[in-house]
């Protein structure tokens, strides 16, 4: 993984916590060249991955990318066709789910419908044969943690979706597992509740110091919660990095398009000038200037230039003659979102750009209107070059 460029860091990161960049650190979980086949279909394809203790780790990808299979192999419900999975240096092959120090929060929550909240939470502790008093104390502690003390005697069918989610979390946490697996933990909640719960999950993880592995298809969820994200596609990991790096330095076009919104301008490399790449595209008259020194490119190579909508500037007045990276077009659509306004700009080449602008003030004099001729510009370091 390339180190963060220059001295600047990307995104918001827990500076003090980065065991993955410490060559001495020993990972807690190791996937070692793991492959999983179902008949002819390859769900996980020669995948290697390290997850460190105390990490909040997200597996992100579209449905069918193999992320759930990867998690189920960790829980013990599926067995790798090839390769090795170790947890704290112990090979997990042949260890049944009920002997693994790993607990899972299921997507459907899988609450036992014939048991009260209390008994659901106590279930795992009972399997360990703990004394009754200790079980009761732990159940109380868990109920307090998820703020459900008053619902201990209720049954799952008498709870709301959010309450069920908390019971499922408490039940999985009760055994204090080394690793907590969460399969789409917030998928069944509505948007408002999802946002609140994201932060709660982060707090709980931080307080308990536990390792969380979350499977999600929701990139916003992954970005908010994770220390690191592994983006998966077709059974492989495409990039493992902090949320900031994933967003600002996507390795491939797939990641750039999957995580957040992006404008892609296709073109051909003309050459390098003063460390900046010059790229000719059909979308602009003059060649574009891009500051992405990590890429090694050759002349006439076909590349895609990725620019995030919020890093583009839209203006009515023509920029000066010295301006670089100027695209001209007309306003095709305007979407007002409250905090942001989204402009869809149609370029002469027919391509449509998405440009966003923060609505910093309540009143705008003479706002940009539909069908207006506009200029869109972006700074050389706002763009990333993705080799095709």
């Amino acid at each position: 993984m390339p180190p963060p460029r220059q001295s600047a860091s990307v995104g918001a990161v827990r500076r003090s916590f980065a065991p993955w960049s410490d060559p001495e650190a020993k990972p807690l979980i190791r996937f070692d060249n793991v492959t999983k086949r179902f008949g002819d279909a390859v769900a996980v394809d020669h995948l290697s991955l390290n997850i460190f203790e105390g990490e909040f780790f997200c597996l992100l990808g579209p449905s069918g990318c193999g992320k759930t299979t990867l998690m189920r192999m960790l829980a013990g419900f599926e067995h790798p066709s090839e390769g090795r999975i170790t947890l704290a240096d112990r090979d997990l092959a042949g260890v049944p789910p009920y002997r693994r120090p790993v607990n899972m929060m299921f997507q459907s929550y899988a609450l036992f419908p014939h048991m009260s909240v209390e008994r659901n939470i106590a279930f795992g502790l009972k399997q360990d044969g703990l004394p009754k008093a200790e079980i009761a104390a732990r159940v109380d502690e868990m109920l307090r943690l998820v703020q459900l003390e008053r619902l201990a005697k209720r049954y799952p069918s008498q709870l709301s979706g959010g309450q069920r989610q908390r019971v499922a979390l408490a039940r999985a946490l009760a055994k204090k597992p080394k690793v907590l697996l969460l399969d789409e933990p917030l998928g069944a909640l509505d948007k408002k509740l999802r946002e609140e719960t994201q932060f709660e999950l982060m707090d709980i993880q931080h307080d308990l110091g536990m390792t969380f592995v979350v499977v999600t298809h929701d990139q916003e969820e992954a970005m908010t919660m994770a220390d690191r994200i592994a983006v998966m596609d077709h059974g492989r990991i495409v990039q493992v990095a902090t949320p900031g790096e994933i967003y600002e330095q996507p390795k491939t076009r797939f990641i750039a398009e999957f995580v957040g919104d992006v404008n892609i301008l296709e073109g051909n490399v003309l050459g390098q000038e003063n460390g900046l790449w010059r790229v000719q595209t059909p979308s602009a008259e003059a060649p574009l200037t891009i500051d992405d020194p990590d890429e090694v490119l050759h002349s006439d190579q076909a590349v895609a230039i990725a620019v995030r909508p919020e890093k583009m500037v839209i203006r009515r007045d023509p920029p000066g003659p010295d301006a670089i990276n100027v695209l001209t077009g007309e306003v095709w659509d305007i979407g007002y979102l409250g905090d942001w306004t989204v402009y869809r700009v149609k370029l002469a080449s027919g391509a449509i750009l998405r440009v966003t602008r923060a609505n910093r003030s309540r009143y705008v004099e003479h706002p940009i209107d539909w069908d207006e001729q506009v200029y869109v510009t972006f700074a050389p370091d706002a763009a990333v070059i993705l080799a095709e």
Partner: protein, 302 residues
């Protein structure tokens, strides 16, 4: 709207429940009251072979003529008491055997790939469409001393002497398990099929062994099916006539058989009615439970 069509519409609407209601009242409920009445009458050598102890409409005569003679006979003769006990015992053991045989089948059906499931259900139901009598008859040829089972076992060298199975209680158990198996498997399958697989995974994940997960998760969740299937088998088995008659021996006492012989051989209708009432008293609680379980099951399926 004019009052006339609304009246005829109302009439038509009320006919929908009224017709089946009246039918069942007339052909199911009223006959029971008559059984009750006749169980209190004296037998007679006549056609019909009983002497009504009262005439319809003669209320005074009705109460004067009633006697509990038949029930006194039932309680004084040990035969009826032991036949009742024996029926409940045989039906009870058969129900347990049915659960033991039916549960693994229903469980395997519920775990089978979805595309095979309707075929498996059809295969379970199919024998039910062929005659009950014929299916019991088929077992006579198998269980006879010189029958196919003994031939096979002797041929394989498992036994030297033929086993006596036909005309014993064991044959009755086999017959009941065989004939009632679909009634046990289908309700069990219906509940097991609905069960969410991830519940078992969750139990394993929380440290439960597969065996413990079976007892703490699968069995409690299958309870509605277990209760429905058990009642569906137990209740008719208590009153079973054909199976003990064809497969059981003369010492296999069952109340349904007793009722049959009081009626057909001894032509003592009042005593047969009293036996029917006795059987009904034994079964009334299970039948009420069954009705509740079943109507709830049908209505919550929506």
């Amino acid at each position: 709207m004019t009052p006339r069509p609304s009246f005829s519409k109302k009439l038509a609407e009320s006919l929908v429940p009224a017709v089946p209601y009246l039918w069942l009242g007339l052909f199911f409920l009223v006959p029971f009251l008559i059984v009750f009445k006749i169980s209190l009458s004296d037998p007679a050598v006549a056609q019909p072979p009983y002497k009504p102890t009262f005439e319809w409409g003669d209320i005074v005569g009705f109460f004067q003529g009633l006697d509990l003679e038949n029930f006194e006979l039932l309680t004084s003769d040990d035969l009826y008491f032991s036949a009742t006990l024996s029926s409940v015992r045989i039906a009870g053991i058969s129900t347990v055997l049915l659960l033991l045989v039916g549960f693994p089948i229903a469980y395997a059906m519920a775990r089978a790939p979805v595309r095979y499931r309707s075929l498996l259900v059809a295969l379970i139901i199919l024998p039910f469409w062929t005659s009950f009598l014929i299916r019991i008859y088929a077992w006579i040829a198998i269980l006879k001393p010189e029958g196919l089972l003994n031939q096979a076992l002797i041929g394989l060298g498992v036994i030297g002497e033929p086993l006596t199975i036909l005309n014993t209680e064991a044959a009755v158990f086999i017959g009941i398990v065989y004939a009632y198996l679909p009634f046990m498997v289908l309700p069990l399958y219906a509940t097991l099929e609905k069960m969410d697989d991830t519940l078992l995974e969750a139990a394993l994940d929380l440290g439960s062994t597969p065996w413990r997960a079976f007892w703490t998760i699968t069995v409690p969740l299958a309870m509605p099916g277990i209760i429905a299937g058990s009642l569906l088998c137990f209740i008719p088995a208590v009153g079973e006539f054909v199976i003990p008659d064809l497969l059981g021996g003369s010492e296999t006492l069952m109340i349904g058989r007793q009722l049959w012989s009081e009626f057909f051989s001894n032509r003592d209708w009042p005593l047969a009615s009293a036996v029917a009432i006795l059987l009904l008293i034994v079964l009334v609680v299970p039948i009420v439970i069954y009705r509740d379980v079943e109507s709830r099951r049908v209505e919550t399926r929506a």
